[in-house]
């Protein structure tokens, strides 16, 4: 419960936040804190400076463009997304967010935090990979946009550099999505999850089987299992699941997510 000493900065703009982060390579952005603060309690990580992004309106809000593209501010909390009228354009977002942790965590935890921490047990990384989200990343020398396929680099690592911030998440129009997970108890710690999206072809992303979501493409739900097998997974094993069990769940859940996607009209 007892953190190491840390400095705290509360910038009033994204520009200032980026300055704070650039000043010290031990600085870390603090979003909802529902992962980072816990890791700091364990003292498994101890940033020198926490740059608090709470209150930066630029990083909040959900807009729906005429072409159906959803633009989500990374500091949007799960609860805000669940309540958002715009977000209903892509119902899976609400469905998955309402399955994350519990009320308290959903009130505080953010979409961007979930994605940038990229903990293997998180639900949003595979979901974003499946729906083909695009991520806008800002640094002091401007913005760039990366697709989901280049965004997740490893456990707790994404394309967002130490001195950068995720400033926008763009999700293309679409409705035919699916999600399936096996968790410890009802909505507990994730063992394996899978998200699917039908957009012409079928894209399925599987979480908690590797350092980053594993994406497979398939013609139809009937061929998803083969596609997953072909991906040649070597999932980590832990106290909740052997590598073999995770590999098996990956197939089953990928197919279930795919069927939900295919059956959504």
């Amino acid at each position: 419960m007892l953190l190491r000493e840390v400095e705290y900065a509360k910038p009033s703009s994204v520009k200032e936040a980026l300055e704070r982060l650039a000043e010290n390579d031990g600085a870390r952005a603090l979003a909802g804190g529902q992962t980072l603060i816990n890791v700091m309690k364990a003292r498994a990580a101890s940033p020198d400076v926490l740059v608090d992004l709470n209150g930066l309106e630029e990083l909040k809000g959900i807009d729906l463009a005429p072409d159906g593209t959803l633009s989500i501010g990374p500091m949007t909390t799960y609860s805000e997304l669940i309540d958002s009228a715009e977000a209903r354009a892509r119902p899976i977002l609400r469905e998955v967010c309402s399955r994350i942790a519990d009320v308290q965590v959903r009130n505080r935890g953010t979409i961007g935090g979930n994605l940038c921490s990229n903990d293997p047990t998180n639900h949003l990384p595979p979901l974003m990979a499946a729906v083909g989200a695009r991520f806008t990343i800002a640094g002091q020398d401007g913005e760039r946009t990366v697709p989901a396929s280049d965004f997740f680099l490893g456990v707790y690592m994404t394309a967002v550099g130490q001195a950068e911030l995720l400033t926008r998440i763009a999700i293309p129009a679409g409705k035919q999505d699916g999600f399936a997970a096996v968790t410890l108890g009802v909505e507990g710690t994730c063992i394996v999850n899978a998200a699917a999206s039908m957009n012409g072809s079928l894209r399925v992303a599987i979480g908690c089987v590797d350092a980053v979501p594993v994406v497979v493409e398939a013609e139809s739900p009937d061929t998803v299992r083969e596609a997953v097998r072909a991906a040649g997974l070597h999932p980590p094993d832990d106290v909740h699941a052997s590598s073999e069990y995770r590999a098996h769940l990956a197939e089953v859940l990928a197919e279930r997510a795919a069927r939900q996607a295919a059956e959504t009209r």
């Binding site: 419960m1 007892l2 953190l3 190491r4 000493e5 364990a42 003292r43 519990d102 096996v182 410890l184 108890g185 009802v186 909505e187 507990g188 710690t189 063992i191 832990d238 106290v239 909740h240 699941a241 052997s242 069990y245 098996h248 769940l249 089953v252 859940l253």
Partner: protein, 801 residues
């Protein structure tokens, strides 16, 4: 939630058997409880433990200088200092475990990950942890022993050289005539190995203390949440070379215990030594990860080479098995687990020929301690597994096998093969109630319905005994030298100057509602309202309100605690009458009665002496009272259950006074593709004799059930091959939350105990039934024999492959 309760026989207005709201709740619902971390003192120092990162290693050097240099750090304590300032803790074990040298900090060697090595005290909690990171400990790692089955191999690393190996205790228990039983048997069912896993009740509040040392009197005041101060005292006094009067234990509200808060004496000793060394109050709060890594795991047990003698019709004749118990790194309460199980030797069945070769070994894992259902749960899980495995092997109906072999109501009181006496109960009828609650008759339709949805349905029964009120004489079966026997508990009931009825208990409740049930008993006897009875919260050993076995553990308050309250209140009632008879000028005591907050003459109600007057006369206005009156209106009573010292040679005798019973039935649905399963229906039927407060009793049944569901499905303290705990927090040690709870139906019977003053039985530890039931349900659903008490999804999936 549906409930079946026995008919209530109304004999006038009685406080006994009433679900009166709890006195404790008013403060607890307002955040006004006083839990140990809420206790603060001026100038107190916060203690943080430096813990071992290794499961097994020599400590080659310790350097605290860098830590002590920091401003705001008050001081440190190392194992070397502890070894000079204290003696090793008294060991319950005879040879070889008795040879262990157990100190309150690691001395020379660490034996499990998380073992306290150095204590650091500082001005703030944060600073204490910062400084602990500057303590330099050099280790020389040793191979770790994590599997009890390898402990006795010559090649296994040895934890305690003093004990000459990893064997801590062994004993052979044999009753009846095994050869005859197996000769008579039509079938011998063989079960190579069963495993009862490691978990505990994880009370939401972890351990803690605030310790003050009074230089003038040499007394330590220990504000703590230890749930068995009587035991802590006899461990700490000799180790600290002081008399027990120097150790004052104070508790108020305790955030759950379940047995897991009995063995905090090592940490309490460290706090005591530091409060004296640094001359300031010492505050210690244990955090969740510390608790999981180092405290009070339940006994992990293997049952090997089991053989069961059965007749063709399913009549059970007897069994033999080898029990291998994993005590972890230290014997902090062990090897008592090596005999406690014998309270329920035959489970709930009539077999008479039983042999158990019991072996307990040390491993590089957290030390075990009592955990709700302590040691009996492991053995009862074993007997229930045997029943269901036998039923499967012989293709018999598990319900029929149980009913055929259950001890019958007409056999009560029933003497078990080892001389324990089951006091009362009708197991077969309880099972029928439980089966009725989950709609047993329509189970085939439910099965078909589940299959139509691609699920596999499974039903399982768990029968269990909740033996309560220990005869500590059983400790002699593991160490004949020990001079413990019997049991006792204390209550003091007084009438104060203004007529307040004040009750002091020796117990240390952790949510069992003692303030309420004690008040119910007092109100019943003094014929007043529970609202007029003031029961002091918590325990304070300073005012002689306790006895050697005082505490709250092992299902006994309804027997020991309430019998003490009953005894003290009856003494007070008689004193009030004697006083009134004197005041009324010699009216015979028989002519008096207590009513409406006072005492009066039966056929002349105007002659009324209110309690206020009684209290005032004795305490403040007593001139002229007869010299030989002998009334103090301050009555202390010690309840002592009727026990004999067991026969050590035959390992025979009554080990516990009462046997509450629970029968649970679980219905699960398994997803055959993933092994994921849910409990879709659940029934728990309880019989704990006379229920003083049915709502509190039902609450205990529910809580134990929830813990069983967690243990059976998710909760496990699992280690990797290097002895790292893989489930050190609630993220990986999943305790059930509200969404994990199945629909629950509860039922109750009341078979009063013939052996207790109120007909009550201790209860609260019957949750094991849930583990048995879920294992049986998994076996039913998968069609595969279940050999482990822990069945997470991946294991169920593996079973079905």
């Amino acid at each position: 939630m549906t409930t079946i309760a026995p008919e209530k026989v109304e004999v006038g207005k009685s406080w006994l058997g009433e679900s009166v709201p709890r006195k404790e709740d008013r403060r607890l619902t307002q955040g006004q409880g006083v839990f140990v971390d809420d206790v603060k003192r001026h100038g107190m120092g916060y203690l943080h433990f430096v813990r071992s990162p290794y499961a097994h290693a020599h400590i080659t050097s310790i350097d605290v200088s860098k830590a002590e240099e920091i401003k705001g750090v008050y001081g440190t304590l190392t194992g070397e200092e502890v070894a000079t300032l204290t003696d090793p803790f008294f060991q319950i074990a005879s040879e070889p475990g008795g040879q262990i040298k157990d100190f309150s900090l690691a001395v020379g060697k660490v034996r499990f990950v998380g073992e306290p090595v150095v204590a650091v005290v500082a001005e703030t909690r944060e600073l204490a942890r910062d400084a602990s990171e500057l303590v330099e400990v050099e280790y020389e790692p040793l191979p770790a022993l994590v599997d009890a089955r390898q402990a006795l191999d010559g090649a296994a690393p040895v934890l305690h050289d003093d004990a000459g190996g990893n064997l801590m205790w062994e004993g052979v228990y044999e009753w009846g005539d095994l050869d005859q039983a197996f000769a008579e048997a039509d079938h011998v069912v063989k079960i190579p190995e069963l495993h009862f896993h490691r978990f505990n009740s994880t009370p939401l509040e972890c351990d803690g203390a605030l310790v003050e040392f009074n230089r003038g009197t040499g007394q330590w005041t220990i504000h703590t949440n230890n749930q068995f101060p009587g035991f802590a005292a006899i461990m700490m006094g000799p180790a600290m070379r002081c008399g027990l009067d120097k150790l004052r234990f104070v508790t108020q509200d305790i955030g759950g215990g379940f047995g897991n808060k009995i063995t905090s004496h090592p940490q309490l000793v460290v706090c005591c030594l530091l409060s004296r060394k640094l001359n300031r109050p010492i505050q210690w709060t244990e955090w969740r990860t510390d608790f999981h890594m180092s405290m009070s795991h339940g006994n992990e047990r293997w049952f090997q080479d089991t053989e069961v003698a059965v007749k063709a019709d399913g009549t059970l004749l007897g069994f033999r098995t080898k029990a291998l118990d994993d005590a972890g790194a230290w014997l902090r309460y062990e090897p008592l687990g090596g005999v406690i199980w014998a309270q329920v030797t035959p489970g709930m069945y009539r077999w008479r020929h039983i042999r158990v070769d019991f072996t307990q070994v040390a491993t590089n894992k957290a030390p075990v301690s009592p955990n709700r259902g302590y040691s009996r749960m492991q053995h009862l899980w074993f007997t229930e597994r045997v029943i269901d495995i036998v039923a499967r092997e012989l293709e018999l109906d598990p319900v029929e096998v149980r009913k055929r072999n259950y001890i019958r109501v007409e056999d009560m009181p029933y003497e078990t093969p080892n001389g324990c006496v089951y006091d009362s109960g009708d197991y077969a009828q309880m099972l029928d109630i439980a089966l009725g609650l989950i709609g047993w008759s329509s189970m085939d339709d439910k099965r078909r319905d589940a299959e139509s949805r691609g699920k596999r349905l499974g039903v399982g029964i768990g029968s269990t005994l909740d033996s309560g009120t220990n005869n500590f004489g059983q400790s002699r079966l593991i160490n004949p030298e020990l001079q413990f026997s019997g049991n006792n508990e204390v209550a003091t009931v007084k009438l104060d100057i203004f007529g307040e009825i004040v009750v002091t208990l020796g117990t240390t409740p952790q949510g069992q509602g003692h303030e309420t049930t004690a008040a119910q008993v007092v109100a019943e006897i003094l014929n007043c309202s529970v609202d007029d009875v003031h029961v002091r919260a918590g325990h304070d050993s300073y005012w002689n309100s306790h006895a050697g076995f005082s505490g709250t553990y092992a299902s006994q308050f309804a027997v020991t605690g309430l019998s003490a309250v009953k005894g003290a209140t009856e003494m007070l009632r008689e004193e009030i009458k004697r006083l009134a008879s004197a005041v009324f000028g010699g009216v015979p005591v028989e002519a008096l009665e207590l009513a409406e907050g006072g005492v009066r003459i039966k056929d002349n109600p105007e002659a009324f002496l209110p309690f206020m007057a009684c209290g005032a006369i004795i305490n403040a206005n007593n001139a002229g009272l007869p010299e030989d009156l002998g009334v103090t209106l301050n009555c202390r009573y010690v309840y002592r259950p009727p026990f004999q010292v067991p026969d050590v040679e035959r390992k025979f005798g009554n080990l516990t006074l009462t046997y509450a019973t629970q029968i649970h039935v679980a219905v699960i649905e398994v997803d055959p593709e993933t092994g994921y399963y849910e409990i879709v229906d659940y029934a728990a039927v309880d019989d704990c004799g006379k229920r003083i407060n049915p709502q509190i009793v039902e609450g205990q049944v529910m809580g134990a059930t929830a813990q069983a569901i967690g243990a059976a499905m998710h909760e496990t303290f699992e280690y990797d091959e290097d002895g790292n705990l893989l489930t050190p927090n609630f993220y990986d040690y999943h305790v059930p939350h509200a969404l994990d709870m199945p629909p629950l139906h509860t039922g109750a019977m009341e078979s009063p105990s013939p052996f207790t003053p109120l007909g009550t039985k201790g209860m609260g530890e019957g949750g094991g039934a849930g583990i048995h039931a879920i294992c049986a349900a998994v076996q039913d659903a998968t069609g595969k024999i279940v050999t482990d008490s822990h069945n997470p999804y991946h294991r169920v999936w593996e079973l079905m492959r």
